[in-house]
Amino acid sequence: MGRDEDNNFAIEVSDLTKYYGQFLAINKVSFEVKTGQTFGFLGPNGAGKTTTVRILTGVINADSGQALIASYPAGNLKAKQITGVLPETANAYVDLSGWRNLLLMAELYGIKSKEARQRSDDLLKELGLYERRNDQVKSYSKGMKQRLVLGMALVSDPQILFLDEPTSGLDVQSSRLMKIMLQKLNRYGKTIFLTTHDMDEANQLCDQVAIINKGKIVAIDTPERLRLATKGRHSVEISFQGSVKPETLAQLSGVSEVERLGDKYRLYTNTPGDLAVTLVNYSASVGLKIVALNILAPSLEDAFVSLTEKEHSHV
């Protein structure tokens, strides 16, 4: 209460708990998202991400705990008014045109007609849908539909944006466009709450990530710190012009395991720097050309797997 004035949290969640019948879907989930942050909410399927988003967007009620959106209780009209939502499996109205869908959303947020038209126009252009704006959404491709649905979340110019797996199953162009738009929105100071199981996406977009597993938060930190805290294995990735037997590589000093990935090998090691030198020397000595060589630290994906796999291994 007392800190309403200088409150710089866009989302505050404490001890949020939700049961479906007997099943505990989320268990005392707590976290805070600062205004202007892009917050990644990561977790395997069934972890409780969508349940959390639905509570925060006022679509379902929690059984206990508190969720505040810009200090308003989640579900309150004032909270909804400043929120844009892209639900996990949402569609546009397929019998209406893309243009009508955007105007409909704008009207539901009480945006004045002139402004609504202007924003719809701008968004349709930005989303690459302007030429098809008067066609029924039925006739759109999946990527076009998903871009439109993002537009529907943005047309009210929300301060806080909830996106539930926005790029899952999208074609490369649409998902790139979406990432670029999210980065731009973040530069404009919007707060973005993004659930995903795409670690690259989280790594590129998020200031802060929370990892949820089986309804419980298991880690909250910056992607970089999560990565560094993971006692994962370092590795060197290398590809050659010409063929090399993996057994040969396995015998090089410092290599603990060799994995073949398409046209390259990944060599796990505790001493990646030394191994890189060894590899270069070896190639020179046998006259092999190196096409590419990369030293890899544990990825966010490694962090994610190590934080969630114990619970996950029996699945």
Binding site: R54, T57, G58, V59, I60, N61, L77, K78, K80, Q81, T83, V85, P87, T89, A90, N91, A92, Y93, V94, D95, L96, R100, L104, M105, E107, L108, Y109, G110, M152, F162
Partner: protein, 251 residues
């Protein structure tokens, strides 16, 4: 923000929702099937061969068409939206649950009130006179809203299959039509038949229409109107209460 401003704001958003429903549903099957084809076939089936005078027949036809059309889409909008995966986003916008429900009812109401012009024109060409067009218009507006609200009650079970809801709705629609004095004027029904008729809102609309077209109804107009308003209030309250419980289970 004052309550009044908030109320106006939500009401405007209800109208937005109603317009969306109309744009989506006017061309779809239910309106045409339940609003036009069904009443006409039913009516022909029951009146051919009987010599009911037009001023008794047209009120029944009007009531039946109004009833079928106003209840044609309101039962299926919510399950349809849930199935089409548009409901969750609608629920996340700054509108109250009541605003959504009212919007859906308004759309259905407009279909019902709009199509009632057809049987009225038929009646006029058959030489019917309407004692007081203003009162008839008021009765059509109130009743269409009442029936639309009833239709919405049918959509409260948490099923997302429009066909299931249609079955539930049909199971109520047909009995209502048969017990409301559509084919047989109330005065000619036995007492037990009249008692059953009084639990149907359609009865009161048809009674008003007979009063205005035939010159004589069974009940005073005021009673008819009060009954329709009372039914509307009950349907609205039941719809809102039940939807509040079942809506979150749809997504």
């Amino acid at each position: 923000m004052s309550e009044l401003v908030r109320f106006q704001q939500q009401f405007r958003r209800s109208l937005t929702i109603a317009r969306k429903d109309i744009q989506i549903y006017y061309a779809k099957g239910p309106v045409i099937i339940y609003g036009v084809l069904m009443p006409i076939f039913l009516f022909l089936a029951f009146t051919i061969g009987r010599s009911l005078p037009a001023d008794l027949m047209i009120p029944g036809l009007l009531g039946m068409i109004l009833f079928f059309t106003a209840t044609a889409v309101s039962p299926i909008i919510v399950p349809w939206e849930a199935q089409a995966r548009t409901l969750e986003r609608l629920m996340s916008t700054p509108v109250k649950l009541e605003t959504i429900i009212l919007g859906d009812i308004l759309a259905s109401f407009i279909f019902g009130a709009g199509i009632s012009i057809v049987p009225i024109i038929i009646g006029l060409t058959l030489g019917i006179t309407i004692a007081s067009p203003g009162i008839l218009a008021l009765a059509i507006i109130l009743s269409s809203f009442c029936f639309a609200a009833l239709g919405n009650v049918f959509s409260t079970p948490p099923t997302n299959t429009p066909a299931t809801v249609n079955m539930i709705a049909a199971g109520v629609r047909f009995p209502i039509v048969f017990m409301s004095g559509v084919f047989i004027p109330l005065d000619e029904l036995p007492i037990w038949g009249q008692n059953i008729a009084f639990i149907s809102p359609l009865t009161y609309f048809i009674d008003i229409a007979r009063n205005l077209m035939h010159g004589q109804g069974h009940l005073p107009l005021v009673i008819d109107f009060l009954a329709i308003i009372g039914f509307t209030a009950v349907f609205l309250i039941v719809a809102m209460k039940l939807h509040r419980r079942t809506m979150p289970r749809r997504i």
